[in-house]
Subunit: 367 residues, 4 copies
């Protein structure tokens, strides 16, 4: 996982995005944040529940280095369309923070991702968890078009593996981790990331976004404002089973800009515009839930806190550049999840093609 395979990214095929990415153009540009994957691809042909074919995985995003992972980050959340799950949401809404790794997987394994994250933490920090509970964030999108989702192939060990795998370097994209079996605009999609640098008051702040993209109809796809989806009918998706247009997108936004919980809710809400820029508009069947956190403020773990905490924040009045960074990085992360991909077939011969780069470039007039 340390050396992502050489997959192209949206910029590599000539797409020009506004704003300035940080070094890796990834969520891991935010210092201390790391990403790990477990990817499960096994079997072909007819679905046998519990056997496969398997096209799924788990993604773990660690908001702080492992040794500090029990120290909360301020956070905020937004549900654009709640036809999905993100555990930990009540806690974040209540106290504006969360701790421990965030996991993202398929819809029917979201619970095990949550519980296994606690199991991992309780083993890592036995003293802390001797009389403490945890309410971790686990999110999901639906991969049942390609994957034996009712086979429940994700185990607690797979979840731990993703957490342990997490690294802070370049981030693999496409059909990896929780994104393994996902599709977006009827092209193969899944995991994607991007980042932006925001200059404010003499300081460079970084904002990085990670998406698990799994939404949209082909005809709706827009790239940099062009309604390109309607010109990309080929290659078609091949569908042998009922499809309930079960789509979703999870967006995780990290930043080192100092922000309070209510401000992180504001950030999260802006991911909507990034999705809109690619042509999505939150179908009924979509679970579009967004989480934003800031690593800037630190304080001891609960129970050992300072008596009165001091927190820094950028005034709300100066947040517009951060909002723009969310819009830009969400849009680019979604396109990265598409561009990085290859064709995939899965259960019952269902087939999702990759977004064809040459046809895309030609349609967009990029040479």
């Amino acid at each position: 996982m340390n050396t992502p395979p050489q997959k192209p990214r949206a910029r590599d095929i000539g797409l020009k995005f506004p704003g300035t990415p940080a070094t890796l153009n990834a969520i891991t540009d935010v210092k201390g944040v790391s990403v790990g994957y477990t990817t499960l691809i096994e079997g072909h042909g007819k679905l046998v529940v519990g056997k496969g074919p398997v096209r799924t995985g788990v993604t773990a995003i660690l908001p702080r280095p492992v040794n500090d992972i029990c120290q909360p980050v301020f956070a905020g959340m937004f549900s654009l369309n709640g036809n999905g799950e993100m555990t930990g949401s009540h806690y974040i809404e209540e106290v504006g923070k969360f701790a421990l790794p965030v996991t993202i997987t398929n819809t029917h394994s979201c619970g095990i991702a949550r519980d296994a994250t606690i199991r991992w933490a309780a083993k890592q920090f036995p003293d802390y968890f001797e009389g403490e509970f945890a309410l971790p964030v686990a999110a999901e999108t639906y991969d049942g078009f390609l994957n034996d989702i009712n086979g429940m192939h994700i185990t607690a060990d797979h979840v731990e593996e993703a957490i342990v795998n997490a690294t802070s370097g370049a981030v693999d994209e496409g059909s990896v981790g929780g994104g393994t079996g996902m599709k977006c605009f009827d092209f193969k999609a899944g995991s994607g990331t991007a980042s932006r640098v925001i200059q404010y008051a003499g300081t460079d702040y970084t904002l990085g976004t990670f998406v698990q993209a799994n939404f949209g109809d082909r005809a709706d796809l827009k790239i940099l404002g062009q309604p390109i989806g309607q010109f990309l009918a080929e290659p078609p998706i091949l569908q042998n089973t009922r499809d309930s247009h079960l789509s979703s997108i999870i967006v995780i936004i990290a930043t080192d800009a100092p922000l309070l919980p209510h401000q992180l809710k504001r950030l999260a809400r802006r991911a909507t515009f990034g999705i809109g820029n690619t042509g999505g508009f939150a179908h009924h069947g979509s679970g579009d839930i967004f989480l934003a956190f800031s690593t800037a403020n630190t304080y001891a773990t609960p129970g050992r806190t300072e008596e009165v905490l001091l927190s820094r924040h950028i005034p709300d009045e100066h947040m517009d550049p951060l909002f723009a960074a969310v819009v830009q990085s969400t849009e680019e992360a979604i396109l990265n999840s598409l561009i990085a991909n290859r064709d995939m077939n899965g259960r019952d011969g269902n087939f999702v093609p990759a977004l064809p780069h040459e046809a895309l470039k030609s349609a967009m007039g990029i040479y």
Copy 2:
């Protein structure tokens, strides 16, 4: 499980509550609703994570008969204090309904309760779930004072067992199901239920409430308005381990009164007053999340719906008697969860006494 043991209830010791209960004074008075438990009690002495002692369980509440369990009920939710988990909340907030059994368990097994509910449903209704996902409700309170909560003793099979056990008759109370290891006002508590009949426009409607009660300090306990907790110092809780005042209450409200989603949110919010009547005021560490659903309106499962649905509802202007029923039945259900109980010891010799009936009666002046 069909024949609840002969446990006393709050009325049995002479407490007088306002309002008129239905036949069983239980959530199962609402036609079609059933409750099932899996109770795990094993081992004594020093905590060995993964071994025990085990004092935990799972509760399943089925909003409709098993054969109709994929047919959603209108629902609404309220988080009084979100230091807890209730999966499915985003979905309920978005579309005002849910399907499948509701499960309640301990904090660290909430995820497996959720996923296992899907596993059960996918086996029961393989055709329906061939290309469909589910976002079931699973909730939790913390039992780590008595239970080896990090041992993750709840398995998917235990969850299924609770679902399969569900019956529509009298409901066992106290240290059963998800309530097994819970305490309330430093007395042994857990599962409790009560119901009320509401007459409206010539019809008798039923509203039933189920609680998993696990909150409050001894000194705060009030019974029927009397600050009884401060006179009941004996017997004390025995505590050999760190306790983080990790408390919570989950309230599930069922009714056959015809109500729309926004009205069920209003019902859920009123559980707050029932808790307040017992002396609770939602401590920081408490996960106080309430769910209300109505069985009155029926429609086919998604994907096979009528083109335009017809729903009945009582006008908002006439909801006050329903609000009162929520307050009354929540208060009584909490006290039932206490009165039904016996002493319990658990991990590391931690001990939670039962609420002593005679001392209580004497303090209250009940003969």
Copy 3:
């Protein structure tokens, strides 16, 4: 007001939008909905608070015919960015409905618009209001760049005039009513409207959107996906006073499709994508609050309600075409508010140019 002046609309200059508008391409295509304006334009030159210059007004949108105006409509609301005001929001969130005319005006006259709506209603329906209160919807955007906003030029009579003026025919656009002093992308904007027809289950439903548009920086403007704002530096805005980038957009969505309150919240949320399509992304200083209502279900006024009400609704699973209609009509209504306009100068010589049609057409390649 019955005969709107001959102002061009976005389609008139060759812009092609997706979807099918209804007869008038206006919110008044929804049967029973009417729109009225009071427009105040007076004085030039230096600001003298209380004297002028005045560039403001009031818009009234009646969700039902005047005689039925006390009969609520089901409604839902969304605050994309709450740096603004919409009274009545608590009530709509609580009971999913509202009655009486909706008014929209400038930020500092929102209160008088609210109270004067009650005054009008109490005079119209003295028996009903003899022992009843009202919580009407009044919203606002900021016109202080052109208008003497602290002069409080809107009177209760002006508000009544807008209500009484309301008609159900073609709707005037641009610098009229509450939109009189507004700007959008640094071009003159204000009131705009559009509509869509949605075919569902053999029925044609209508959805109409009205905006008071007052947001965005010139460089951000996008038209039909093209980043046209950066090519339209001319003519510039002329600014002689401090400007705090105080921008906003109010969106009112009406439909005759039968929907429940929770579904109307879902509709309202989709206006976000329409704004995003024009380049907006909800600046900090923006009050972006959206209201959706459905005229389909009728019932008697409160206090005289049926005992149990019957309501129709389209299943959530079939809402995607309605979502698309919101996105499309919001985008088109914003552009209509720009295209219909002419240059305007105001207080202290501040000047906002109209969006130049020829330059726009040339930049877009429309001939």
Copy 4:
């Protein structure tokens, strides 16, 4: 207004409340907070809309000294039952703060209270408001049982008068200011206040609560846990007009404890328990909206802010004593609004008796 008349308070008649009040047992115990009233009582007999009888007023609560009133306070809000109005709510939810005086008046004058607060501020701080807008908080309860509410007797000057009247000393209670025409449990009520001192980490913090109480049926009244309302049938309310059980309570909570916006929402939510302790349970017709603010953190007015702000806050884990202070002070403030009162008659001979002190003491066994 500086010397409140000698009215009794709940403690004066022997009621014992938990917790320790600060010096004045009033919201003005929080340093910098002041309260002012305008009270309008005129005429008797038959209602003539626009003539009277008049039984109404305006209350102004200034969160900071007048000279600092444009400097926001962190704030949070909760709507227990949204059948009421509190303007400024969208802004508070969005950015967690508000500036300017809070006003409370009758339901149909809430808009003028809001706009007139801006008018006052624009005159006081003409430079600041030369290019700025405001979104002040104005709230309401319904006094139409005694008052000619549709006569709109509150003028902008009355609102300014309440603001200018504000003082930081003892606070008059009962039928004054916005509370003039209110009733609670069918006894005369209106304005009430109380405070608590909270010791934390070696510091004494103060929390003060102000209510405009106007809710509840006689039979529901509880005092210190005793269901006293059912024993206080005399004297009855006299009602000659239709009454729609239009009741409400506005709760304003001030503290000098350093808290962030999300924490102030938590505080606001706890007012529910204080209401519950008096027997209220949020009837359908009630507008029960609560606002909490903290004066602890200061920063320059928007537009002149520091680049990065430093804020102090008590960790969420230590908020329970603050929660208890909210419950206690809300309960006591409601009872103060009752105990301070005298009988009042109003429109059409409607009559609301004072809570009879001797009968109360006798029923409670207080000598």
